[in-house]
Symmetry: C2
């Protein structure tokens, strides 16, 4: 690819085709697009169903503005011979293809590895699926929440057994999908790097499973089970290895996280809440002693936090230099001076929605930070331009596709 | 770097220095090492404190076997002039440096950008910190749990307001740290790719904040707040937009996740649990109608699941082709035929621990999958070899460093 200046991120000059829907593959390409890659998103004529998700303004998804940013939208019936042919021509100009259809669907559409290698030797092909491209469960239906349960995260996102009759909670976002998207981005970039060293005509394949992406984050779960038969267990708002560190209720119904889990911090916190008796209790002078009496300590701390509103409690504890934080909602996030200073709260001009708040670009690359070039596009907004530029189609040919309803 | 065959992953030939501790930077380099990069981990003479974390066998951390796999351990006092000089020589042979010290600490150690650019023009330098390398809060203490709270995840990991007096739970692993590590890996790879196109003598910097890594995953939280003033709220085991989909209690005290949130799946589930009255109720024939009566539906489904042990209930629901899963603990994960078939449950020979169960490599790259070349090393196991090979030190010079306690 022709190198371009890094004014738009280190990946400018790289072109990626997305045949994706919902979250996982689109999140992968959004991150790569943020860092400068050109993303061409192939949608069916009815569009990605995620265009209808989440909170809406003027009956349009606000999330779409973020989720599809920096992506050119091509709406095309890839199941028709003419649509397939057009997409194949676009692929010939791409460095990578990212998809999250059901395993095998890409090949059934007419985009097997053999075809892809002929179109674009050395194409990086990244698949994201629930369980992976092979194995006895590969064809099973998958959602992020199922990946989180099979990968071990859901079990740990709970209070200790017996605390409550309520079920373990979801993590509140489709984390399994997004984390799989991050692993796919790593795979795409690694394969592009490796390909620069090892030019081959074969596809360079990335195969990400939601379940495996989650399992990869589970710290000592597998080794502890394998060696000791220990099942890693949920610990609620605490951790099993140190105390006191938990969430404490404030007078105005919020929670303050305090991590006073060292000898020094413990003493400082006990002085602050007026419990010199605890501070001087020899049984509480070690971490293991404090872990053994975590209930008693947490009750005493909660008695103090309940006397204060959240902002006051947070300020007092922070001034004592004890690691702590309120639990942020959207309101605190948007007002936070650090997020503001770091460009993480961006007012983006959205052609349809006016101004939309977007998160900034992660990772931050100070010398070539990438840009939010444009917000999520209308369906098929770029079909004609992409077909002209990469499928080398004339206006007449494009018109014929439109009259045959291959494109909208 | 000299290209090597891809038998060990697409990143073989790339060398990365880690000055890291705890989770975030070490997790980044573990993922890159899994894909073939050579990782040199610089530890203080006392070692990374994470060597003492998690479940233990023979008084040694089992997690260390996984967390430090594929990394060469150099134990050196980098605060001494001789130690700094030795590390600087090693850096001259590296492609990237990944660190998670406090912001500014790397420069204070003697490794400013000016020094790094002289040692290794174009070095990729990746920082991971709580809040980022600049801004009013950059010096504040950070943990993964604090990053999760400030990034918005903790608030959403809860039952709906008013359901319970219990605090919102942690996600059970240090997700903020691990996700920051993934974003840092993306940044390192993107900068290495960009550098291939744009050779410059300057450092190529990656600046990852835990808080921002978490915020980047928050879906419609920011746009919904900015446009509508809506605060994205926790929904417990459900989701706000469809029903029925939740966690249901089984007779033997476990939970079965069932996602029957389409007209077709709803009908199938109601037939299965013997509630034809619900299946034929016109008020439950649409998703919005079902959402409005989610409590009633969930109670009926729970009445059915409570009559069965978990494995039976799961089997019956799966046979009816309704998306569902048990919530896996370590035991189910290790026994799972799909994880087994995919190589995600690996018995790794650990020189100290015998056989340790490791998670496999994610992302899976079928043509060049990388390898678990060796498990987490003893402290300083590779000091001499690394100093010989990259600092070009003789045995006498190394001996002198040892007698001066610069190395152990």
């Amino acid at each position: 690819m022709t190198p371009k200046p890094n004014s738009f991120g280190p990946l400018s000059g790289i072109r990626i085709l997305e045949i994706g829907h919902y979250i996982a593959a689109p999140f992968c390409t959004r991150i790569l697009g943020d860092l400068g890659a050109e993303i061409i998103k192939i949608e069916p004529p009815a569009g990605d169903p995620a265009r209808d998700w989440g909170a809406k303004q003027n009956d349009r998804s606000l999330w779409w503005s973020v989720h599809a940013r920096n992506k050119r939208s091509v709406a095309i019936d890839i199941k028709s011979p003419e649509g397939l042919e057009a997409v194949q021509k676009v692929i010939a100009s791409c460095d990578a293809l990212v998809e999250n259809l059901r395993p095998g669907a890409l090949a059934r559409l007419g985009l097997s590895y053999e075809v892809l290698e002929t179109l674009r030797p050395g194409l990086v092909v990244a698949h994201i699926s629930g369980y992976g491209q092979n194995g006895p469960e590969r064809d099973r239906a998958a959602f992020g929440v199922i990946g989180e349960a099979i990968g071990g995260l859901r079990y740990l996102t709970d209070h200790p057994q017996g605390t409550s009759d309520l079920p373990p909670v979801r993590v509140g976002v489709s984390l399994g999908d997004s984390v799989a998207g991050l692993y796919a981005a790593i795979g795409v970039l690694a394969q592009l790097l490796g390909r620069a060293e090892n030019k081959s005509a074969s596809c360079h394949v990335v195969d990400v499973a939601l379940t495996e992406s989650v399992l990869s984050l589970m710290e000592d779960m597998l080794p502890a089970y394998g060696a000791l038969g220990q099942i890693k267990k949920p610990t609620g708002a605490r951790i099993s290895t140190a105390a006191p560190t938990s969430a404490y209720p404030t007078r105005d119904g919020r929670w303050l996280l305090i991590a006073a889990n060292s000898d020094l911090l413990f003493g400082r916190l006990m002085a602050l809440i007026g419990r010199d008796d605890f501070a001087s209790d020899p049984e509480l002078s070690t971490n293991s002693g404090r872990v053994a009496q975590a209930d008693r300590l947490d009750a005493a701390i909660a008695e103090w936090t309940r006397q204060h509103d959240a902002n006051d409690a947070a300020r007092i504890v922070a001034e004592a230099d004890i690691p702590s934080t309120l639990i942020y909602t959207a309101a605190e996030i948007v007002a936070d001076p650090q997020f503001q200073a770091r460009g993480m709260i961006r007012k983006v001009t959205d052609a349809e929605q006016g101004t939309v708040l977007h998160p900034g670009i992660v990772p931050h690359l100070p010398d070539c930070p990438g840009a939010i070039r444009f917000a999520g596009q209308n369906l098929g907004q770029d079909t004609d331009d992409v077909l002209r530029e990469f499928a080398h189609m004339t206006a007449q040919e494009i018109g014929r596709l439109r009259s045959e309803k291959v494109i909208t």
